[in-house]
Subunit: 340 residues, 6 copies
């Protein structure tokens, strides 16, 4: 676990996730399951389980709640040596898990978090990124606060300077972005420093006002092509599609655009979803792993799709499967037979 | 929650429900999940969650078990101000939850309950029903004891006198009716005071000896027409159909007859049932809500069907979904996507 | 439960309490027990269990977390008809329960709560307090924010105008008071409107700079006398003493000063503490109940001390014992024998 | 476990025990711990753990609840081959566990149980008791119903005929005896057939109207002597004393009278009670084991007291300790040091 | 339960099964569910639930862990009178339950178990098998150690001598067989004494080097015919097929060969698997029950397939369904409707 | 947590600890709490919580069970970079927690563990110990197998060569030492390389055949003096005394001998023990911390005794308290008051 050569740095908020057991509504329960999650930390955990040295950078309150969040990351093999501590509150979210036609519902309590109070001078990005292979961030991070957005920009600049590859899952979360800036003002500068972007045509339309024909066949390649034109550092744009039959049954596939052609994977039929949260992060992690370890985009995107499919069966935010599990599925064994 | 104008009164036994966790058999466990339920109280909870003032009338033992049952109803927004207390035992039932080809199994312990010992002079129905919009009872109530049946009749008479609408889900439960009278002797007088009846053709055949052709297309409209002929106060007859592929997968739809035409809803495909108990009560509550708040039968029955569909995903006897959840499904969003 | 004549109004923040099971440290667990508490709501619950109509006024976020907090209060017999809803976050606190020489540890996440954003114009105190018997607040409330302090003042003024008795447990919590005012600026005006104060000599010294001789015999009567001199509306000052042998074993007694004499209760030897949180609120509730229902201060303070003693055996913030339990202990039965 | 020569038959109701976890009040919980218990079955389990063939005779409903009760007895080594099945309801009781000055509280739901409907012709006592060493019953059994009392008498008569020793713990439970007969009418005939009686002076005063001087030194020997005079078959009368400092801390000792002298054990200081229910049954079982396996009354009563002391540390109704545990305590090792 | 005439003896290791709750990975949990299982004991439990006297022979450590394993078997109606005790360790296995495309994973800790140290002289098989109807073993047993294999042979020889029918589920588990012998050396002698064999064409190919055409239609009848030729005592060869769509959804059917014709059952579509472990044992038990109680192979194999189907809905290793449950499914009711 | 300068290396087996919830007996439960522990790893965890870099060296099976054990250590801040993987089984132990006069009982399943199969060539001790401050082992380690004892000797030799301080808690566990050597043959060579020994007079008598006068005042200084005479490298001998009033109530104190004088701490009265396991390891960790960070033996032994006292309130094997908790107790605050 601890001796794979590849090293990745991720940056983002980690929240305490408090979910109701089973399918209970919040008003029915008197205890909650604890977990910790956040888009970038989920990627770090996933890659750590696959053997990479995954260094997550974040800020926690300096009390037992903040330390427990760090301990959770350590537990799941993440390198926590670059975490900083300060202020009093850990962001958290509540989760009611839905089923069939009933949606899962998330309520946040994160506005006053230690992470949101990060200032750019708190983190020495060049020191952290020196000698690393990859830096990953998501669209949630610059949406949190001005200080966090500025820190993210500094990180990207340092990575660019040090020739560390940069990826971003620029998912657009409308309910964030409360600090007075719009994504259209903030995102271009950040995206300009990226090598790989995970985004759907809809995300790109929301953030960059790219036009949509609402044609699933052409919207994505068109938007991806436009993005690579506008931001020439970008080499790959990838995303996953989800056909949500209901909350318990989804079908997914994944797609990657290299500027010339679109490669798509087979469908995965996820007939009995255990936990849908974090499946996008599992896809991102799978793609990063794939791009770092395989020769072709096809292998990379197949690995990403299989990782994403498996995440639907894992409780919690992060994809805690091993490389072997993903590889077995990539090779076509969908039977789920008992391994003794 | 507490300021919707509409007010409903429900009357019936509330039992402690003790269910095995997950899919365990009773002989495998050493702890049980607690819940409380009963056909009419389930309707009250469901309507209280949708914002109505739902007043449940029942009788509990005057000890911590009986008080806890009342507290459960209060917790779920029910108005408990008309509950009376006396005697020693709360009725209860045990539940093993089935899956696929294995049935759920219920064992009752309710023969000696405080509720079964109700006498008609214990409840001042005119006082309770004054100014209310609706009264609801089920076929389980008059099946419990002579005193309970007589109390139910007094309630219906008071409602009729006070121009409070009356509905009944006259489901026929053969294992009850142990006190020496047959449903055929008791039910006609009660049904005669109703405005809305929930019943399948089979229920009507069992209780009123109406003939069945075993033709799903015509049995229900024929029986409903006959019922409205025999009991002219009745304005609507409604029921839901269930296609039970197995214990984990059902398909449901709902139907309403207004004396002239049958309106049917689309099917809901409940692919991953969480809890089937109380889905009929969720349908009844949805129908009452619909008839009180919508202009057309079509809107009302669609609301009832969607409420019933959602109940299959809720643990426990009662449908604890909000109006918004039902409305979203009525509008056609079956995707169950995460709401943040 | 619901028909006692006496009516009390309480005002204060209610937090979600998330505690580790048993004696576990936060870093050891993956689920947390849920409860809700707050000094004044704890008083309301306690008095509701004794049969009073206890109306708690507070503000919750308008989401399932805020509604669940209201449902918890309803569950425990509190009248929730005056609760208002707005903003997004419910204050919460984490609790690690200590034992023997290890302290319990609380971490708060409440700075951004819906309650802290109350403005005085949100609550119509005269409407709420009309015809009520008692109003109770604590020193935590004015420490939260300027808006909350102003609302509390308005409540006291309304109570004074309407001849509703006012009590306050003016416990001093140093870690609060972050909004720019000192207790010395805010408290006098609030205390001036009170009839009954719960406070130790130390609280009075902290808030009013009263001198302390550090003599347990005279410090309290001296400070209480001074307080009643400075604030002539005050008729009684009471407090409880705690001899903390260790986290699992305390001895308590209670004392009341009427301006002339000090009445003290016997000691209660709490040899096996189940939960120490909220024992001061149980004392306050017991005192309010006692002063409203008994003729002598001696009876009232004995009732308060017994209620406080029993709270040490109740899990959660609030004292969920019945009147009979307290009365039995007041009468001297400390044996704890099984009641069948 | 299964090959000790001594064989005992016990007869009595077994109830499902549903207790709140930890020290929670019933109104606070949404799941309950399951256990099964009853005075005589507790004795059977205890003796089965010590290696005897303990045959419990009772009647259960013929459904999964009744069968699970039998399975519980089998699990704990009891011989269930003589259990009969019929009717529908298993008696049950709810338990809130107290602490310090707060009492444990029991609520029963047993009036309509299958056991209470036993008729004497349902059990062939001579067949069951043939070749057995001992028969044990308690004062609860004849208090349940006329049929049960008559069955108990038949059992005692059969035991007397077959020279099987008979013991009875004639504890007096006032809340039972609802079927129209008084203990004074029923008990003499039953007690007359006993060889060993467990009873305190208070039990004897209640049942036989023996006088009490309220002198702990002489009340018991006087009453015991009177009992042996009135019922000459009785050879020994024994009881345990309990000094209940509070619900969490008791001191116990035990005493036996052989018609001539009183032998008393040392005190056991039970400083941290885990579960007080069933400690009398543990004493009875210890005494039966002691009288069957030791030569002197002193050894027997010491064994009984130690068994009773250990039961206070066992969760549930029955004493699930091994012979070695009791013997170690009899020999004086109270240290509770870890055994590896 | 305890008075069915038919008596079966089973022989094999019983392990403590420690599984993660729900679908959690081992690295995510801090408590584990306990169960006990083993191929032959699972058959015994299943048959005991159907009313047979099922005597399981095994060896447990003589400590509380070993005794608890025996208590588990007693709990589930198995006759434990022939279990022997010795040495210190109970074999155990850990189980992570998979879902959809993620496999369940088993890790064993059984190499040093008390069972593996059985020597043939420890068990008097003739004494045990005298007057019994059936003896069952599996291919796991001879794979454990030389002593166990030799004991198994002695059992078969005794059964043959005493005219007790012998069945074997000769499943081949490659990871066992660590003691220096190959199945090809050990199995023939054991199989020669059998009347009924459960095995797929793949098992037969692995163990006896029978050729495979990889044609599902002919492979099994060919292999079965060859087996019956080679081992003339064998009267029936049966197996079940499993179409594993994924870990949560399987389709099964069953087949029996009597030397002349192949009888196959309908498919069972197991759409929501609760627990796949032990489904082969449920099949074996169903077949034994069927062959003992029905007149035709068709009835027997239908019963076996239905029992196997139901096991997929039971948590734990063994099939704890009643005869009525299986019979209802055999008769075609797959609806899983609630039974009240 | 991660930047304290001091670095310690510990070496020993880590077992999975499976304990029954609460005070339940093993035969009563169907789930077990998981934890991991071992004498030396417990020391590492304790020192890691105090801020040291604690590197634990051990060997785990290369499966999810072994990896989870490493993850547990990481979770609790231990440096796991030197753990090696191989073979199949993790040692484990079962724990029933006692109370009052009932002992806790441990059953081991460790004979075939991956750790027991360590060979000296598997670990490069000079590489690991280079630049470290301290090496710690216990008497359990050389008792496991010849390979483990040889590895321990190599570690001590390397430490001596590299001027790394060595401490050992030479507790004597009779049930180990099964591999053919006696402690008297193995221990002298290991003890000779130590600077600090934790041992009671009884341990020293058992291992080195030192005479005992059974005089608590003189036995320890005499034995300690003899030990330092025989093994001149040893600078300090320390131990803790335990007065076990019962399983729930102990009194402890600690003592250190420097060759000239005995320094003893005050008593700690542990009135409500939460978990006694690992308290000796907490003492050892406290002593190591004290000797590394304080100037006087008195400060060091006081720190050790306070750490040990606090461990009695922590669930699990290891002492998860912070430096601040210990320091507060050392300074005399035993009140256990709530920290907010």
């Amino acid at each position: 676990m601890e001796n794979d050569k590849k090293e990745i740095v991720t940056f983002g908020e980690v929240m305490l996730r408090m979910s109701t057991p089973g399918f209970a509504k919040f008003s029915q329960v008197d205890n909650l399951n604890m977990d910790y999650g956040g888009g970038e930390a989920n990627v770090a955990i996933s890659l750590a389980y696959m053997g990479m040295n995954a260094i997550h950078v974040t800020r926690f309150p300096n009390n037992y709640v903040g330390r427990a969040a760090a301990q959770f990351l350590r537990h799941h093999w993440v390198n926590t040596s670059q975490i900083i501590y300060g202020d009093n509150e850990l962001g958290l979210y509540f989760l009611e898990t839905g089923a069939v036609h009933r949606s899962s519902k998330v309520v946040y309590n994160r506005e006053n978090s230690s992470f949101s109070k990060i200032r750019p001078d708190m983190i020495d990005w060049e020191e952290i990124l020196k000698g690393k292979d990859w830096f990953h961030w998501t669209g949630i991070t610059p949406a949190i606060s001005e200080g966090v957005a500025a820190s993210c920009l500094k990180a990207i600049e340092a990575a660019n300077k040090l020739n560390v590859k940069v990826s971003a899952d620029i998912t657009y979360r409308k309910s964030l972005w409360q600090y007075g800036k719009k994504p259209q003002e903030v995102m271009p500068e950040l995206v300009a420093g990226c090598d790989v972007i995970m985004a759907s045509a809809y995300d790109l339309a929301d953030i960059f006002d790219y036009p949509l024909n609402h044609d699933p066949e052409t919207d994505f390649p068109n938007a991806a092509a436009k993005l690579m034109e506008d931001y020439p550092r970008i080499q790959r744009v990838a995303y996953k599609t989800r056909d949500s039959l209901n909350a318990s049954h989804n079908r997914i596939s994944a797609h990657i655009w290299d500027g010339k052609q679109l490669i798509s994977t087979d469908n995965y039929d996820i007939t009995h979803i255990v936990d849908r949260v974090g499946t996008g992060d599992a896809f991102a992690a799978g793609l990063i792993y794939g791009l770092l370890h395989y020769k072709t985009d096809e292998e990379a995107i197949n690995f990403a799709a299989a990782a994403c499919a498996l995440k639907h069966t894992i409780e919690g935010d992060a994809n805690m499967v091993d490389f072997d599990d993903v590889e077995k599925l990539v090779k076509g064994d969908k039977s789920g037979g008992i391994v003794r």
